[in-house]
Symmetry: C3
């Protein structure tokens, strides 16, 4: 999509990368034993990890966001900004949440598109869309020893909006819809579900008999 030359999409994609990087760095900073190298490493892993996992799965190596220095620079920059200004970032919590939801939505759609471009089936493209959206945060959570938020029923829905957004895109793509239109619709739906989920604190069903 980026290579398609759409400047708008590139800018949104880089904004999502920046938001994911801020988010990863802030989670790292809350862990008192992590130093500046760890903060920047976790920012980059959060921002780029999902796309890297996807590209390794489809054989698109070196991974796209790793090859392109703009993604590396924006991800490292997000980590540095968070490192330098973390005490002041609390008041921007809502913006970070917005960017994070934007990143999730864009990554779910561009992840699904990349998978389709590499000839994978629709079901696989949906899964890889979701992996692109949630993969970086999952690696980050494993590294800082949290149960990955994608598995958990707390903090609002996370994987579900990504799966729905990727599904809309894959179905629309299969029906021959205009690619830019369906990408925007799919990302917007993902974004809306994510934001509603955060604000209403929605949770997916948990197994019967589980104690909350």
């Amino acid at each position: 999509m980026t290579s398609g030359g759409s400047l708008l999409l590139l800018i949104l994609d880089l904004l999502g990368t920046f938001a994911f990087a801020l988010n990863g760095a802030l989670i790292a900073i809350r862990n008192s034993r992590i130093d500046i190298v760890g903060v920047i490493a976790l920012a980059m892993i959060t921002a780029l990890g999902g796309g890297i996992l996807r590209d390794i799965m489809i054989g698109n190596v070196p991974p796209e966001t790793f090859r392109d220095w703009r993604y590396l620079a924006v991800a490292a920059g997000g980590g540095l900004v968070a490192f330098g200004f973390s005490p002041h970032l609390a008041r921007f919590g809502n913006f970070i949440e917005l960017f994070d939801a934007a990143g999730l939505s864009l990554f779910a759609v561009t992840g699904a598109l990349t998978a389709l471009d590499f000839g994978l089936g629709g079901g696989q493209a949906v899964i890889l869309g979701a992996v692109t959206g949630v993969g970086g945060g999952t690696i980050r959570d494993v590294l800082v020893r949290k149960v990955p938020s994608v598995l958990s029923s707390t903090g609002g829905l996370y994987a579900i909006p990504a799966l729905i957004g990727a599904t809309i895109f894959v179905v629309g793509h299969g029906l021959g819809a205009n690619q830019i239109v369906i990408a925007i619709v799919a990302a917007a739906v993902c974004f809306a579900i994510r934001m509603v989920g955060v604000h209403l604190d929605l949770t997916a069903p948990t197994p019967r008999g589980t104690k909350d």
Copy 2:
């Protein structure tokens, strides 16, 4: 092996996938903070993760079990069944254990075969057979923050039967034995050692001076 058209082996392989998925989902369900998406994700990771790791290592991408929708469907189905019926599954504990051992045995053998087919040496094929058998459960354990059972001296032997089964297959294959026969023998030995290990609660040696 699947592509070799052997219906019996395909069925056994899918049964092993289903058993691994049930097993992964049940472990997820025991963790009270994991929702339905997490349960199905862990079921699929447990069932497919080992083969995916192997295929990434040998450059067989997109990974075989990820390309083939039957594996994805069976793995997701195992997760859904476990989610819906978890309170009733306790009484099938022995069946799940049997299927799990069958999955381990089949994956160890098909993993080693795939590695040989891609031109790797015998030692590498043994390691990749074991990785195919234990890899999915290891990723699952990392995600739910357990020390991976493959590293641990509790719960009966797990990596050792897989290594022995893969070794028998690789040696037999190198000696020119009939591929189906040696596959069955290798899987049967792995299965037998695993089941004996579970029932006698066998453990591998631990380092001297370690407190149990």
Copy 3:
């Protein structure tokens, strides 16, 4: 570099592999629930994991150290030695530290060189040099449920010397310096910073407002 036929570099590389394997096994042994298979598996993962991650990222599969039986044998041997002699290895702590720093330095340089050989840019080569140096230990730490030491501000600098060594090599390489000379200089600087960091217990900056 190995394929360049330099026997000295091969020997140093295998010594580094051995030291990383000893180190991984000793950390596994400290965890009382890990058996002999787990000790050897963690030794091999610590010694080979960084190079495997790098090679998967650049599409050099099967990974170089996995294809070459000498690396597998040396890594498994290091695990076995640690398993058999762990009570006696305490007195060799300084040697293990030296070898570990040597492994870090050599892996950072050979990792960066491999990335350049595969056509990656300078920034990417620096990152992959560091990944080669610290990746194996990071996977090990995740498996035994420690916060990866590469992220942490304790235990002396770890990622920073690797990043500096890889940077020196990449810059020297870009300026056309003799490859062997610049490799030795880069590895020596990395080694020196690592050893000084350990002995002075240097730490990288941590975020403001974090409690130590």
